[in-house]
Symmetry: C2
Subunit: 269 residues, 2 copies
């Protein structure tokens, strides 16, 4: 099983991803697509008069502050426009795609974060109404039911807490949890960079391979911004049984094929 994560940044071209996935489906290769939508969520949130707000935790991580209104906008973009747009693109190419969020059938279950301690203007502030959390359980029965019947799942956050509350959650991590839960051979994480760069942003300094044992060191030395989270997530997935994780570029012509053919940065045991 192949799991592909396509990001939601401004430069990500979903058409090329869908074209590659349609070829793979045609060749009889099963896959699951996990997608983002953060850039479009920001655009729509601004238009709707509820602009995005990002908070930085006391430990230095930045995340989207998700109140109820933000969660609804998030669902509109991720589960509505983006998810159905991808399913439509795939169906037009003859793929029996089916879109699900992590809420549906408790596909992605996790814990809601407790009170969030954030830094704001040099002070520490506590946020209690944030609806975000971390996925730790995947409903593999549901995925096996669907893939076994010939459907290609197209999955997005939010996830769901044990009490049924929807929780905003990181898409890369969700993809990693799915790959690990299914014991996938390969997880491809596409974004708007070619992989891990030794000299960011010099794209010719791509690091093609990192052994699992060296990931922490590489993350510390080379990773900028969200790449650090991607690397640590990749390492976690490999430790949990995924064959290999490829961090690759979504901006090229055949992004999935290129990643499977050795492009990007591969993390393996």
């Amino acid at each position: 099983m192949l799991i592909v994560k396509a990001g939601g940044a401004a430069g990500v071209d979903l058409d090329t991803v869908c074209a590659d996935l349609a070829d793979l489906a045609e060749a009889g290769e099963p896959w699951i697509l996990v997608h983002g939508g953060s850039h479009e969520t920001n655009v729509v949130a601004k238009k709707l008069g509820h602009p995005p707000k990002f908070v930085t935790s006391v430990s230095g991580y930045t995340s989207r502050y998700t109140d109820r209104t933000t969660l609804e906008i998030f669902e509109m973009v991720y589960c509505g426009k983006t998810n159905k747009g991808i399913v439509e693109r795939l169906q037009k190419r003859g793929v029996q795609a089916l879109g699900l969020s992590g809420i549906d059938g408790r596909l992605l279950e996790g814990k809601r974060k407790g009170a969030l301690r954030v830094r704001e203007g040099g002070k520490t502030k506590i946020i209690r109404d944030d609806l975000s959390g971390k996925i730790d359980r995947v409903n593999t029965d549901l995925l096996n039911l669907l893939t076994g019947a010939g459907y290609y799942p197209v999955i997005c956050p939010p996830g769901i807490a044990e009490d049924g509350t929807a929780i905003n959650t990181d898409g890369d991590r969700a993809a990693a949890r799915i790959a690990a839960a299914l014991g996938a051979a390969t997880l491809v994480i596409l974004s708007d960079v070619p992989g891990l760069l030794a000299k960011f942003p010099d794209e010719s300094s791509l690091i093609p391979r990192i052994a699992l044992a060296d990931v922490d060191d590489a993350a510390e030395r080379y990773a900028e911004g969200r790449m650090k989270i991607k690397l640590l997530g990749a390492a976690e997935a490999v430790r949990d049984g995924v064959g290999k994780v490829v961090l690759a570029d979504s901006r090229i012509e055949n992004p999935v094929r290129a990643a499977l053919d050795g492009g990007g940065t591969t993390i393996e045991a």
Copy 2:
């Protein structure tokens, strides 16, 4: 099997519908929910600067003009905010709900309308970019797969044309097609009226029962606005094998239970 359609008008209270459906699930009764979202779609479309436009066909029917931008807003509200909001409400009540649009797994397939001949300012105009259509096939294999595994489907438009294009489609008709395809015993269509009224809008003039043979006559004599389409859809469903169709009020405390207990207007053979 029970099919429930809950409308998307301003007055429709989804909490009461979800509470009733949770009780039925708890009692082991299988059901499928089909929902609308038209009022909220109008609100969001206005906020996003793309206000809704309705057109009246030369034969007198009014429908939403659905260009690509409108379809995306429609998907944001129906498949995003509304569908996931309902699934979350049901999951909070312990129901293993799972949301799908008609695009997903080609659940609701139909024909896209050709050029639309509409009346505008006394003139006939032809619209060619309208993305709407009429459902004529239901993927019952997918519904049986999910309900057989214990999931409760929560379904909304759009549907999908044969070539994979998403098509805006009438929710009442979609529910009727699902009920007919599954040979459902009962289809309950909830909206913001108590059923068919002999003297609209006098709610005490509710007509409790219409035999199939009398539906055309009753629609002609009593039905106002969308009630006509609802009645004709109900008759079509009964002719296609649904045990009975109940047109009932969504604004009361236990709307589904009341409809099952003889409330509203029942159409049966």
